[in-house]
């Protein structure tokens, strides 16, 4: 059975067997990482559809996020040596991510403006994943500060939002679609008249 009913009273268990309330910062972080993984799953679907070459990287990232989940769910300050060793998150994954970013970035036109989340289906889903990644990072900070998760996890999440940004731009380029750039909206009647005529 998929449902165990053990969580009906608002608690969940960690890998070390301890039970904590579901509102604990650990579950907040785990939940955000899970959301992030799901949003990358959607992005993967759209990247796969157009064959832009990002899918293998996205799958590896999804596997890494699973490992990050294990790291967060195994409090560093309250688990056995074996449990810690089995759930350590290696710094090498960050180097790999940086390599991917550099490769993608070298094929992109330089950034001259703020860009808006735009540029086709694959690109917008990658932007969405990027913004969720930042939330995952924010929710993981207090967990790392409490020595419950490894610092490498935080570093990876920080670099991952940069990767997803580069990947979103790359996807737009592969789809041969324009990225919209930020323009300062005029204030006052002029702007409002202009947009109204656009909307007809």
């Amino acid at each position: 059975m998929l449902y165990t009913r053990t969580g009906d009273r608002g608690e969940s268990s960690l890998y070390n067997g301890n039970r904590k309330p579901k509102t604990d910062q650990i579950f907040e972080a785990l939940g955000a990482v899970d959301e992030l993984n799901s949003s990358i799953g959607i992005a993967h679907h759209y990247c796969n559809k157009v064959g832009n070459g990002l899918v293998d990287q996205l799958i590896e990232i999804q596997c890494n996020l699973q490992d990050i989940g294990s790291n967060i769910a195994t409090p560093r300050n309250d688990s056995s040596e074996t449990q810690l060793r089995n759930t350590a998150f290696d710094e090498g994954h960050i180097d790999k991510l940086e390599g991917w970013i550099d490769t993608l970035d070298s094929q992109l036109p330089p950034l001259r403006n703020f860009i808006l989340p735009s540029g086709g289906e694959a690109s917008v889903f990658l932007h969405q994943a990027r913004s969720i990644c930042r939330r995952a990072e924010r929710t993981t900070i207090p967990v790392v500060e409490a020595n419950e998760a490894d610092e490498t996890v935080l570093k990876y999440l920080n670099r991952l939002s940069d990767y997803l940004f580069a990947a979103a731009r790359y996807a737009a380029k592969k789809d041969e679609l324009e990225e919209n750039v930020y323009k300062k909206a005029k204030s006052g009647r002029e702007a409002s008249v202009q947009t109204r005529s656009l909307s007809k």
Partner: protein, 210 residues
């Protein structure tokens, strides 16, 4: 590659980020939570806009409006990242948001225009009505979360009140857009119906239900 600045600065690896004032704060500070949520909102609007483009007929106006809103959310980000209680006068002036209320008025007139074409609301509607409409409903719900993150900051006068007002109106706008997109796609909106629990005891096999 030489001389090209890297996207990743690594300065954030220790869990802090800088505000427009130069001050560094932990990334889980309420300001970054508000900024990050605002960024999520712009990304969800980007997605909804993409589906509106795909849907095409009848929602081109919305596509332009959504792009303008994404630019305004960038301005809102600048306002949030420049604490009103701490920043210098020139910085405050540069990052002022909607001081004359015109952007909120734009939203209101866009809502009114769409609303005239829509059938009246007689039941709770569920997020539904096709891809564009469903994505607009998601954006609406993220807009509400953004508003919840901004309201406490506005109350403490760390963010301009106009930002909270804009976000409040924006969720109404996105709700109306969701309904409008469904109508233009000729899709029925699913309405709320009270689900009836099956009359079977707990622990019975699923085959026994219905």
């Amino acid at each position: 590659m030489a001389g090209r600045p890297k996207i990743y600065t690594k300065t954030g690896d220790k869990g802090t980020s800088a505000l427009f004032t130069g001050e560094r704060r932990p990334k889980d500070d309420v300001v970054f939570d508000a900024l990050g949520t605002n960024d999520e909102l712009s990304s969800f609007i980007g997605l909804a806009r993409e589906f509106c483009l795909e849907q095409g007929a009848g929602v081109q106006g919305m596509v332009n409006q959504l792009e303008q809103i994404q630019c305004l959310l960038q301005d809102i980000g600048a306002n949030i990242a420049t604490p009103r209680d701490l920043a210098t006068a020139p910085r405050l002036a540069r990052t002022e948001f909607d001081s004359d209320g015109q952007h909120v008025q734009d939203l209101e007139s866009w809502i009114d225009t769409m609303d005239q074409e829509l059938p009246p609301l007689t039941a709770f509607i569920l997020p539904s009505g096709g891809k564009a409409a469903a994505a607009l409903h998601v954006a609406r719900s993220v807009s509400r979360r953004t508003e919840r993150r901004v309201v406490p900051l506005a109350q403490e006068q760390r963010v301009d009140k106009s930002v909270a007002i804009y976000l409040n109106r924006l969720s109404d706008y996105l709700f109306t857009c969701g309904r409008y997109a469904a109508m233009k796609a000729d899709r029925a909106e699913v309405v709320y119906k009270k689900p009836r629990p099956p009359r079977v005891k707990r622990g019975a096999k699923t085959d026994d239900i219905e």
